[in-house]
Each structure stands twice: as structure tokens, then as C-alpha cells.
């Protein structure tokens, strides 16, 4: 899944020394941080880029003529160019900075919803979505008197894609205006067949929103190759800082969509009766942008490129294989999600027989292993699968084989403790 834009470096395999580039981990040598699907740690280069920004370049952007504002504006726009290139978007105008995936998805749901939805229409989501790609669409459908329909989930936490055929047969496909789906499920790690889905959307003239919050951290994505019309991701899950997210959208849609948040920077003229809007991408960026965070996000993408995208991916795949094999062999452990390793990435959701996942997580914490327990903001999926909560370990490139082994040992310990 390496895109062709970057020279794939041929350097040696990435080793555990990568962990040392992350100050929080370097300062906590005993910590096995396995909650990467929630948020990632940040490398030194990201922290120092933000720090440098505040110490040398901080100013408000766009509207000032002095040198510092020029530098700050450049910092913002250069970061936008980095994101554009990383995603292979057609132009920088298509790159809208948000504070998070959630904000990007809300922007789509409010603005695209207003543009496209009429009473009786359908918004199609999957039952495997994170709440941030589910509730905004539910609310948008409500506002428009449209209907929310969810692609059901199979036992192995894959999408029941046959359902698309059902929608064709019973005529509902014609009424679908928007389809919103994750690239990878944050709860189970399932990789969804997004090219098949986007091809189906094309066929039925459906606008597709892709939630890449869990995929962008694991491999680069060429937005034009996805076939989607929109894509969101969060910097803080991608080795970048909190407060920097990206919404990419096709210019043809962004041009037509009404603005959502209004205020400074996004206007052209303001009169009492009526305002007109600034050009893209500013139309969708009301208020003072978080330049420092955006600079940090660009530094994170640059760090990934410099470290080598294929090396990162290779290392993660290896860790993932190891984790999978170890976990499935633990007695009394039920591992959720696809059995085919090619259909999953990074996330391992499980339960120990007779022990609540909270108690497992608490036990692991005492062994300095940080995992998550709960519904992972995916209640509809949990309900479909008839589970209340799971323990979830999720990987990033700085994790080690040893940490995975410690995880498995501690799980066995927990089984005995309770």
C-alpha cells in the first residue's frame, strides 16, 4: 500500500532504536504503550518543530504585512503543501485543516448534508464506524428527514458487503446520497474493501466519505486512488500533535458546499444582510488556525517519509504478525476481527473468558502495559456482535516484540489473578 510519490528508501530494516526518538517512551523505558489507536506518541522532531514555531515564528496569519506574520503564514501554507503531497491531492485548496477527524466529519455531515440530503434520501454508514463517523450522519439524516442505514457486520467484524446487493435489489441504492465508511475499524482493526465500495458508489452516483483516522498512521494513502470524495484523519494518531486534523475533499464538492463555521478569515465581504465567502480552502477555516499544531503535523509526515514509509510498514506488519500468533494461542482468550491477517491492521481486540476487560486492563496497567478497555466509541458494532466491551491493544512502529511478549505474559497473569 505504498504510494508511488515517495522514493522508497532501501535502508536496512527498522530496529527498536526507533523507540528512542520518542521522548515520552525514552523517559519511560518500562512502559509498553499499546493504546496507539487512541493516540500516538510524538517523535522529538515533531515536538521541536512546534517548540521552534512558538519560539521563533509565532504570529497570526494571512492578514498582516510584517515579517513575522509572513513567516507564520508560510509555515501554515508549507504545511498544507506537505499534506497535499503526502495525500497526492490535486491541489492545496482541497486540504482543509480541522482540529480532528471528528471536526472534519462534522463539517461534512453539516455542509454536505445540507447540500445533498432531501426528505426520503438515505445516508449509508457501516455498523463498524467510530461514533464520530456515525452520530454526525445520524443527526444530518434527522435534520433532512432522511434515513440512516447501516451496512451490517459479520461475526468476524468484517462488513457484510453482500448487503450492497440487497440495497440494489430492493431499490434503496437509488436513494443513497452519501456513504460514510472507515478505512480501518478502530475497534477491531478490520481493513474495509474501500476500493470495491468506492466503485459501487460511482456506479450509483453516491458521494463517499472515507474516515482514514486508523489507516493513515499505518500506510500512506493516495486520495485520488481511493475513489472517495472526502477523507479525514487526525494528526494526533499519526505521530503528530493534538489539534491538527485534515479534511481532504474534491474541489468540485468543496466549491458547492456551504460553509459551516463562520467568522474571521473565511469571509470575503460581510454586510448586515449577507456575507460572501473566501476562496478554498479558507472558506472552511473560520477563526485563527492552530498553526503550531499544523506545523507539528507536517513534521510528523516528514518524519515518516524521512524514516522510510516502507520500513515503517514492514516493521509494523512484523509486530502485528507476532502479536496475532501469540494472542490466538492464549487459552481462554477470544480475539475478535478477521482471521486473515491481510484483512486487519494494528488493532487487537479481545476478551478473556469470565473476566471483564476493565479488570484485564487494570491488571496490565500494573505491569506497565497500557491498553484500552470498553466499547471503543463503537457501540453499534459492539451491539451487532453482542459484546459489551473488549480489551484492545493497538500497535505503532515504536512498539517492540518484547512488549508484545510482555502483553501476552501479563494476559496469562490476569487470567490467573482473577
Amino acid at each position: 500500500m505504498i504510494s508511488g510519490v515517495f522514493s522508497v528508501d532501501s535502508k536496512a530494516e527498522l530496529g527498536e532504536e526507533i523507540r528512542e526518538e520518542f521522548p515520552l517512551l525514552a523517559n519511560n523505558s518500562e512502559l509498553a504503550y499499546l493504546d496507539n489507536a487512541a493516540t500516538s506518541q510524538k517523535p522529538e522532531s515533531v515536538l521541536s518543530a512546534m517548540n521552534r514555531y512558538y519560539r521563533e515564528e509565532n504570529a497570526n496569519v494571512h492578514r498582516s504585512l510584517y515579517k513575522l506574520a509572513e513567516i507564520s503564514t508560510l509555515a501554515l501554507e508549507n504545511s498544507r503543501a506537505v499534506v497535499r503531497q503526502y495525500l497526492n491531492a490535486a491541489s492545496s485548496q482541497e486540504i482543509i485543516f480541522t482540529k480532528s477527524s471528528t471536526e472534519g466529519l462534522n463539517l461534512c455531515a453539516w455542509s454536505l448534508g445540507e447540500l445533498l440530503l432531501s426528505p426520503g434520501d438515505i445516508v449509508l454508514v457501516s455498523a463498524l464506524e467510530h461514533h464520530s463517523n456515525f452520530v454526525p450522519w445520524q443527526q444530518a439524516a434527522n435534520r433532512a428527514d432522511a434515513k440512516l442505514v447501516a451496512i451490517p457486520v459479520n461475526e468476524d467484524a468484517t462488513l457484510n458487503i453482500d448487503f450492497l446487493e440487497t440495497l440494489e435489489k430492493d431499490g434503496r441504492a437509488e436513494k443513497i446520497r452519501i456513504l460514510a465508511v472507515a478505512h480501518i475499524s478502530n475497534a477491531f482493526g478490520t481493513i474495509h474493501p474501500i476500493r470495491a465500495i468506492s466503485a459501487w458508489c460511482r456506479k450509483h452516483d453516491i458521494t463517499m466519505v472515507l474516515d482514514a483516522a486508523q489507516s493513515l498512521p499505518h500506510f500512506p494513502i493516495d486520495v485520488q486512488a481511493t475513489g472517495a470524495d472526502f477523507l479525514v484523519f487526525s494528526g494526533h494518531k499519526t505521530y503528530g500533535p493534538m489539534g491538527a486534523g485534515v479534511l481532504w475533499g474534491h474541489e468540485k464538492w468543496l466549491e458547492k458546499m456551504p460553509p459551516w463555521q463562520t467568522g474571521g478569515e473565511m469571509i470575503s465581504t460581510v454586510r448586515l444582510e449577507k456575507s460572501t465567502w473566501n476562496e478554498l480552502p479558507y472558506k472552511f477555516e473560520a477563526g485563527t488556525p492552530n498553526v503550531a499544531a499544523v506545523v507539528g503535523l507536517a513534521a510528523a509526515l516528514n518524519w515518516m517519509i524521512a524514516t522510510g514509509l516502507s520500513r515503517l510498514e514492514t516493521r509494523e506488519l512484523k509486530l502485528g504478525e507476532h502479536a496475532y500468533e501469540k494472542l490466538v494461542s492464549v487459552k481462554g482468550l477470544k480475539l475478535y476481527g478477521p482471521v486473515d491477517l491481510n484483512q486487519r491492521r494494528g488493532v487487537f481486540s479481545f476478551n478473556l473468558e469470565g473476566i471483564h476487560s476493565h479488570d484485564v486492563a487494570q491488571y496490565l496497567d500494573k505491569a506497565q502495559i497500557a491498553i484500552r478497555s470498553g466499547h471503543h466509541c463503537a457501540q453499534p458494532a459492539m451491539r451487532h456482535l453482542g459484546i459489551q466491551s473488549t480489551a484492545r491493544a493497538s500497535l505503532a512502529v515504536y512498539n517492540t516484540i518484547h512488549e508484545v511478549d510482555r502483553l501476552v505474559d501479563a494476559i496469562v497473569g490476569a487470567r490467573e489473578y482473577f
Binding site: H358, D359, Q362, K366, G374, Q388, S389, F418
Partner: protein, 145 residues
Amino acid sequence: MNELDNLYMEIILDHYKFPRNKADLSHIADEYLHENPSCGDSLKLELVVGGDGKIGSVCFDGHGCAISTASASLMSERLIGKTPEEARRLIDVFLKVLRGEENSDSLEEWGDLMVLGGVTQFPLRVKCATLAWHAARKSLASCTE
């Protein structure tokens, strides 16, 4: 793992494995489910006040962790035989202790329940320990006001 044992006292693990007053409450509509949105735990509670004005039975049903299950189990034992007014007072004290607004010494005369005081050292588990109590608070509000 000493610290962990402070949380998972034997009494708690016992009530987790053998919860008292746990019953099938599937006749109660899901509307009346009490949930802890931050973790997915959920609980139904049935609290019956007898002709003598005292709580005759407290039953619960649901999915929860050791802490939330043991807390519900311990609570059920404690509330039976109390008047709604007394129960409300108890609940308020308990919630205050768990929120850290009152010293956990206040639980000292509560017998087994005292062990739940250890949860205050685990702020993120406070919600687990209080789920049943919030549920009881709500039931009591609706049963007498």
C-alpha cells in the same frame, strides 16, 4: 502487585464471582438501563419498597467489571431493610466518599462495603464503583417523589 490487591480485595473478588441479589431482570425495558458511557458498562436495578415502608428487595442485572459488580452486590445487601430516606442518605455519603469529597473513614462502620474505599486511589474506576449507586439514587427518587 500490592497496589492492585488494594483494589481487588478478596471481598470484592468474592462478590464479583458470587454476586448477591443478581437476578434476571429482562422484564425491565432497556429504557431503564443505567449506563456508564465512558466504558460501556450497563445495569438494571429493581428496588421494591414493602408495606412497612422499608426496602424489601434490591436486585440487579447487567454486565460489569469486578468493581461495578461487587459494588452493586455489596450495595444490595446494605440497602435492604432501610427506609428510602435512610437509603438516600447512605447513597449520598457513599458517592461523596468516592468523589473524594468526604474522607473514606466515613465508610468504616459499613462493614464489607468499606473495601470500596480503596477505589478512590483509582480515579478512573470511580465510575465503575458508583454506577449501581447512581442507579439506586434514581430509582429512589422516582419511587417516592
